[in-house]
């Protein structure tokens, strides 16, 4: 999920003509104080993290003077919200708020189209309003777009005062433009405040379609799929570049235990891992863990990826620190395993030109061209090492895990002797 932080989202809103409060980004209490001096007190201090629930979690504080600002800024910097450390604050003018609304454009899979959502109950309690049906919605015809009258007709259903209808219609039309122009899956303003200066976007939640991030270098998104509530690691960012513009199969790579802390806490051994298919990957990981191994990463190289993708992702997997082995396993599928094997072979031959991996490696090829894959592994000398074991289509996930355990035990014994 490629989610922008608030100030990035607000920049897009402002560009589309939606009013936002005056603000400045600060990376230290001193910068925050300087920004507030320019904006004038009172100000809001808002932690810039790409996660929801920030307001309820205490990520937004206010300051009436410099002393309060410095105290609150010091409190926010370094705090974590959903695993994101606060490195930036948005210092924002505090507005006179008379009401809070909610408006969003979402990609709605049930409608197979974008949809506009609008509620008179904005702010921190909006989830309750949305769950209880306290909102109106409109499916968007993407060929026609969203002219202002669409938004006006939508908000009219809520009984909102007529003087607000035209400005809200314009905000909704502009928000849809942000959604379309930036290939979003979500463009949300919550709250959209009613102030003495008109309607103003107090927050912005913008999520860009992962598959469209490459079209928007101007957004500066450091893309990485599905890493959860934390920033991507260096290797995750590098791996994400492999799929960024090339959709011939996937190389989803996630470090489930980036620093090996989980493995260490559980007394297990970190290993590198690659699976063809998510299901088989999870099944294999489930077999490896009880035997004492903890994959440092999850990786799914499925959908018939090119050999070059396998080469690149294998280099990334093996670059992980403090691993004591590598397991590759495929599911039974139509994926051309000869191409998969070529990527693995090229990576192993380049990384280990003497043909001797520095730790145990197990490869299991099951599916289309699996015999070819196994033959190529032997032909190129990858299997000549005693620390390499290959298995074929009759092997189960359990067999792979056991083969790795046995190989690892032998490797450990030899290391102890040396």
């Amino acid at each position: 999920m490629a989610r922008l932080v608030e100030h990035q989202g607000k920049r897009l809103l402002a560009k589309a003509g939606i009013a936002v409060p005056k603000s400045a980004v600060a990376k230290s209490p001193d910068e925050a104080a300087a920004a507030a001096a320019k904006l004038g007190y009172p100000v809001a201090l808002k932690a810039q993290v790409p996660s929801g629930g920030r307001g309820k979690a205490g990520g937004i504080l206010f300051a009436a003077d410099e002393a309060e600002l410095r105290a609150n800024a010091a409190q926010l910097f370094g705090r974590k919200f959903h695993n994101y450390a606060v490195a930036e604050l948005l210092v924002e003018e505090k507005l006179d708020i008379r009401g809070e609304l909610y408006v969003a454009v979402i990609s709605d899979p049930t409608r197979r189209a974008p949809a506009i959502l609008f509620s008179q109950s904005g702010g921190v309690e909006v989830e309750g309003a949305l769950e209880s049906g306290g909102f109106v919605s409109e499916t968007v015809d993407i060929l026609r777009g969203v002219p202002p009258h669409v938004g006006v007709n939508l908000v009219r259903k809520t009984g909102i005062p007529s003087r607000l209808m035209a400005p809200l219609g314009r905000v909704i039309a502009s928000l849809y433009k942000v959604y379309r122009d930036n290939d979003c899956t979500l463009a949300e303003i919550n709250p959209l405040a009613i102030t003495s200066k008109g309607v103003v976007a107090l927050d912005a939640r913008i999520e860009v379609d992962d598959d469209s991030v490459f079209r928007h270098p101007e957004l500066g998104i450091q893309r990485s799929l599905e890493v959860g509530d934390r920033l991507p690691t260096a290797l995750e960012r590098i791996a994400a570049r492999i799929d960024e513009k090339d959709h011939r199969g996937s190389t989803h790579f996630i470090q489930v235990d980036p620093d090996g802390a989980v493995a260490k806490a559980q007394g297990k051994i970190s290993i590198g891992f690659d699976g063809v298919g998510t299901g088989v990957s999870l099944a294999a990981m489930d077999e490896l863990v009880p035997l004492g191994f903890f994959p440092r990463n999850f990786c799914d190289t499925s959908g018939n990826p090119t050999g070059s993708k396998l080469y690149r992702i294998t280099r990334v997997i093996l670059a992980q620190e403090d691993i004591e082995g590598y397991v590759f396993i495929s599911c039974l599928s139509s994926q051309q395993l000869d191409n998969t094997a070529r990527g693995l072979i090229k990576a192993f031959k380049e990384i280990y030109p003497d043909g001797e991996p520095n730790f145990p490696c197990v490869f299991c090829f099951r599916g289309a061209w699996d015999d070819d894959a196994l033959a190529m592994m032997a032909e190129h000398g990858v299997t000549k090492s005693r620390w390499v074991r290959t298995l074929g289509r009759d092997a189960t996930e359990r067999d792979v895990a056991v083969a790795f355990r046995d190989l690892h035990a032998a490797w450990r014994r030899e290391r102890a002797r040396a």
Binding site: R241, R248, S308, Q320, E321, D322, I323, N339, N358
Partner: protein, 109 residues
């Protein structure tokens, strides 16, 4: 050295050392590329490997980057094919790690 090269979609270059290719009797790169399940973008011209499609077609996905040309050349030919797939960000990461005294898995003792 006479070389022939073309670029591929993911950002890489396939290079043929035609001095080596001229001495190669198998032309394994062309043979394997023309397997029914592969890209079929290579052919022989004047007894040397060449593209049967335009460089633009090869770069836009005509070459499926199976790496077979390079690997079969290593085992059945004379090693004149190089499939270069740069990863500058990984290289920079590894260099930075080394400067910090950290060791990637594949270099661990």
């Amino acid at each position: 050295m006479k070389t022939f090269s073309f670029e591929v979609f993911s950002g890489g270059t396939v290079m043929f050392d035609h001095d080596v290719c001229a001495r190669c009797e198998t032309k394994a790169c062309v043979v394997v590329c023309n397997q029914p399940n592969l890209a079929c973008v290579l052919e022989l011209k004047d007894n040397l490997p060449a593209l049967r499609v335009t460089p633009e077609e090869a770069k836009s996905g005509g070459c499926i980057e199976c790496l077979a040309c390079e690997l079969d050349c290593q085992t059945k030919g004379l090693g004149g094919v190089t499939f270069a797939l740069p990863m500058p960000e990984l290289d920079a990461h590894l260099e930075a790690s080394a400067r910090e005294g950290r060791t990637p898995g594949f270099r661990q003792k």
